[in-house]
């Protein structure tokens, strides 16, 4: 299992924020979108999404609202807040800088 594509710490939050920046979604929707975008390459317990969501909700980056979906089921929809958008910009910038550095180091060393 050494080739399992595990997540780098902190990157799940970044990806969730990025996905939510396209529009609000519920937890299941985020999972599906993540699988779709990564072409199911990420190996991660699907449930670990939720503590991440709650933490970011607590920090005020995202906010949640319950909506009725088809056949009267409720689902909790998450949306990016203004401070979440800022956070996304900041983390994305850090990520891009870091990955550029790492790529450069790996390429030239």
């Amino acid at each position: 299992m050494a080739d399992k594509n595990e997540l780098l710490p902190g990157t799940l939050d970044l990806m969730i924020l990025r996905i939510l920046s396209r529009g609000e979604l519920h937890g299941w929707g985020i999972t599906q979108r993540l699988a779709e975008l990564s072409q199911s390459a990420l190996q991660v317990d699907e449930g670990s999404l939720y503590p991440s969501l709650y933490r970011m909700e607590d920090k005020g980056w995202i906010e949640a609202e319950w909506r009725i979906r088809e056949n009267n089921r409720r689902a909790k929809y998450y949306a990016l807040t203004r401070s979440g958008r800022k956070q996304l910009e900041k983390e994305q910038e850090i990520w891009e800088r870091m990955s550029a550095i790492i790529t450069r180091v790996l390429a030239t060393a």
Partner: protein, 880 residues
């Protein structure tokens, strides 16, 4: 972190949990549905979805940490565990809660007293701007103003603010077909209520034009009078009542808040001041109580400066009336509480705190013993890596639970106290200290409980922290008496308890003895055979001195003719209470003193049988009798100390004295000397000289009636006195008609109230302290059982064991009592400062209280020591 959101999630915790579960379930169902669509059986699909999802419980736990619930949950667990511990030993818990409830309840009750008397603002607008204005001189630091001086101040008030005035007195109130009643009345400037900021609940306040003679037949009722006498009639406004025989129109009823014990609450009704031109020019009669509303722009000091300089100006302008007097201001709120309150209330709070401290140290001792019994458990937990905080938490939780329960109990105690106090502190006229168990008081109870928890859990907790692992584990679970330091701490607690108990007991005992002494003081008069009452002859029917004197004579004759009556007296004042008629004396043949330096004496006009009725002894000369009439030469009796103060060793009989001031000096001859008397008031009056004119020569409208019974109990005379007087004048009320002893007891209700509270503190403190020493010695003995057994086995006699146990307890009690004596000295010094009639540090009382305390301690130690000496040595040794 957003505190508000955190709080919201906390409050909605159950919802949030449910939502979390729902959200995850939804996810699992969606995933399972997808697997099922791929062809898995429903149960396999569910399992696969769960595998893909991860450990739901662990994830939820992780989420909970996010919400900060875990700390709360731990606290909840601690409290639940503590509650279980407490329920497991119900006797201890009950004892602890009751002890603490009493302790916290005592301080909470005292705080509600402070709250009612000092802290709660008077029911007026902007109370901070209101001030009483006093005129002080050598005779009276809290003097009132004369009408002319007040009017001068009112005219010149521009820079100060508004000044208003009122005078207090009594008046008879009657309606057609109802018996007349003697009521407490006030005459006030028309703007008194607008300046105080009080609006009547019914009707209106006075109009300015009603503040003049002839147009002043209007009356404002206090809410108490409206309820009590007029059954809260809604159509009261416009009704006509007779006041002193004259018809008056009721124009309004003051608001309910006006029944405040502290200020004007005793007044039954108000009339306009309506000064006649003669009244307005009077500078001698100091009858106006003056209140000012300071201008907003002035500081209290500036206002006081203005008033003081105005007083100086008047003293210079009218030296005859005002020299030697200074004017000062006191904030009305502070003035209403009374100066004594600022000594008595802190003292009561401290004494109740002493009760609480005793309760606390009791509990500290009990908890310490419990902690000791669990020493091994603590040691094991510490050895397994429990942090100090973790060791401490269950102890603190127990303490917090106990004291919160006790806080609830304390509020109950304060509630009971309120009912009791309301009853005991009701004045003659139904005015009350208004106690409320309001948020202030609740807050106090709560704060006191938490502080208490900290205090009494600190000892055991410190012990748990300093636990020596090795020793505790090696002791092998045997009960121990603890380390030396720990024993010291216990002994310290016992000593402290006895110190506090001694302070309480000695302080209370001295006060109780002082008050009782004063009230049982029959110095120069007797009261056992007397029935007494007060009458006020209304101006309407009794205009002029001749009519007053005729009625006085008729009263004396009719009452003296009743069966069972030995003698009857009428006088301006009774000897039980302080006399209020203070005048300055001139002595014939002695130089006229500088104004302000005259001798002051209290005057009491008396009828012929006064001395015989009250049992006051005539020392020299003759008493006043039927010879002395309005037309005969003026005569006076003086008291022995008055004669000595004026004439030294010379013979006073035949000498002449007169009242200073007034237009003409009317000399009167001293015809007799009577024994000195002292009132039953524990507060000695600064004026000690007494002069008795004849009632026929100075008839008064208010008279004190006294009837001396012979062969029957005085109480049996009351009905016949009432019917006799009603036959003389059905409109004439007799106030406070009762036996003299009942009246005296009633007059000092505030003192008695204080005395009863101190008694309660003393008894409570002693009870708790002896419970403490009893508990500690019992527990120590249980823990020392094996030691005693060995001693017995080695040949000690049961008496030796008794002595051993008794000795330790007594030593601590003695040491505590000794230290307490010093504290008691301080407390009683403060008491005798506040109540000059109470003698400080009476050695007899101190000795007696020490004896009581030691006896109780002896008993508390002796009971457990007897049990220790009857120990079955074999059983005790085998048990360990």
């Amino acid at each position: 972190m957003n505190l508000l959101r955190r709080l919201r999630t906390l409050l909605r915790r159950r919802d949030t949990e449910a939502e979390m579960a729902e959200e995850m379930r939804y996810h699992l169902e969606q995933r399972a549905a997808e697997y099922a669509a791929d062809g898995l059986s429903p149960s396999d699909a569910r399992l696969a979805a769960q595998r893909r999802f991860g450990n739901t419980a662990a994830l939820q736990e992780q989420a909970r940490d996010t919400f900060g619930w875990s700390a709360l949950e731990r606290l909840g667990k601690d409290l639940a565990f503590a509650a279980r511990q407490l329920v497991r030993s119900p006797a201890f818990s009950l004892l602890a809660v009751v002890t603490l409830s009493l302790g916290i309840g005592a301080t909470t009750s005292m705080f509600s007293l402070v709250n009612g008397i000092v802290l709660k603002p008077l029911p007026y607008q902007r109370v901070d701007q209101l001030e009483r204005i006093y005129r002080s001189n050598a005779q009276n630091p809290d003097g009132n103003l004369s009408t002319a001086d007040f009017l001068a101040l009112r005219k010149a008030q521009s820079s100060y603010g508004a000044v208003v005035a009122y005078s207090l007195g009594s008046a008879s109130l009657s309606e057609p077909g109802q018996p007349a009643e003697l009521a407490s009345s006030a005459r006030a400037t028309a703007d008194l209520f607008s300046v105080l900021g009080v609006t009547p609940q019914l009707g209106r306040a006075f109009h300015p034009e009603e503040d003049q003679p002839g147009r002043d037949r209007v009356v404002l009722l206090s809410p108490r009078t409206w309820r009590g006498r007029f059954a809260a009639a809604p159509d009261i406004v416009g009704r006509i009542v007779r006041i002193d025989g004259e018809p008056h129109e009721i124009i309004g009823v003051l608001p309910e808040s006006f029944n405040d014990w502290r200020y004007l609450g005793a007044v039954d009704f108000f009339r306009p001041l309506a000064l006649t031109p003669a009244d307005a020019a009077d500078r001698q009669d100091l009858r106006l109580r003056v209140v000012g509303r300071r201008d907003e722009a002035l500081t209290p000091a500036e206002a006081a400066g203005f008033i003081a300089s105005f007083g100086e100006h008047l003293a210079r302008a009218f030296p005859e009336a005002n020299s030697g007097s200074t004017w000062r201001t006191v904030s009305l709120q502070k003035d209403a509480a009374g100066t004594g309150a600022f000594i008595v209330l802190p003292m009561l709070i401290s004494l109740s705190a002493a009760v609480l401290l005793i309760a606390c140290s009791n509990l500290a001792n009990f908890l310490l013993a419990r902690t000791m019994a669990r020493a091994r458990e603590f040691a094991v937990r510490a050895a397994l890596g429990a942090s100090r905080l973790q060791l401490l938490r269950p102890l603190l939780a127990e303490a917090v639970l106990l004291s919160l329960a006790a806080g609830g109990g304390a509020i109950l105690v304060a509630h009971w106290f309120r009912d009791w106090a309301a009853l005991r502190s009701t004045g003659d006229n139904g005015e009350q200290v208004i106690f409320t168990v309001d948020w202030n008081v609740m807050g106090w109870a709560f704060a006191a409980s938490l502080l208490t928890a900290l205090v009494f859990s600190a000892g055991p907790a410190l012990f748990a922290l300093r636990l020596d692992l090795n020793v505790a584990l090696k002791s092998g679970g045997r009960s121990t008496t603890g380390t030396r330091g720990h024993q010291r701490f216990r002994q310290f607690l016992i000593v402290a308890q006895f110190t506090l108990a001694m302070i309480l007991l000695a302080g209370a005992a001295q006060f109780i003895v002082g008050v009782n002494d004063a009230q049982n003081r029959r110095a120069g008069w007797e009261s056992a055979a007397l029935a007494t009452g007060s009458m006020l002859l209304p101006v309407g029917q009794y205009r002029g001195d001749a009519k007053l004197t005729a009625f006085h004579r008729l009263t004396l004759e009719r009452l003296a003719a009743l069966p069972g009556v030995e003698s009857v007296s009428l006088s301006a004042a009774a000897p039980f209470l302080d006399w209020t008629d203070v005048r300055k004396l001139l002595v014939e043949g002695q130089p006229v003193p500088v104004p302000g330096q005259e001798l002051a004496a209290m005057f009491n006009a008396i009828s012929p049988q006064y001395l015989a009725t009250y049992g006051t002894r005539l020392v020299a000369g003759r008493t006043l009798d039927s010879r002395d009439t309005a037309s005969s030469p003026r005569v006076y009796l003086v008291s022995q100390s008055t004669a000595r103060a004026i004439f030294g060793e010379g013979d006073p009989i035949g000498r002449h004295i007169a009242v200073a001031g007034g237009d003409t000096t009317r000399w009167g001859e001293i015809v007799g000397v009577v024994a000195d008397i002292q009132s039953a008031d524990p507060e000695p009056n600064p004026v000690t000289l007494r002069v008795y004119p004849a009632l026929t020569q100075e008839p008064t409208r208010t008279v004190e009636l006294a009837v001396r019974a012979a062969g029957v109990a005085p109480a049996a005379l009351i009905d016949s006195i009432r019917t006799t007087m009603a036959a003389l004048d059905p409109d004439l009320p007799i106030a406070r008609l009762a036996t003299a002893d009942a009246f005296i007891a009633r007059s000092f209700y505030q003192m008695r109230f204080l005395r009863d509270m101190l008694t309660a503190f003393g008894v409570l403190g002693l009870g708790l302290a002896s419970l403490g020493v009893y508990g500690v010695i019992t527990r120590t003995n249980a823990q020392r059982a094996s030691e005693f057994a060995i001693r017995l086995a080695l040949g000690a006699s049961p008496r030796d064991i008794t002595r051993l146990v008794l000795g330790a307890g007594i030593r601590q009690a003695l040491l505590g009592s000794l230290l307490g004596l010093m504290g008691a000295y301080a407390v009683t010094s403060a008491l005798s400062y506040a109540f000059r009639g109470v003698r400080a540090n009476n050695p007899l009382i101190l000795a007696a209280t020490t004896l009581i305390l030691i006896t109780v301690a002896l008993l508390a130690c002796w009971l457990p020591s007897r049990r220790a000496s009857r120990l079955d040595a074999m059983a005790a040794l085998r048990a360990d």
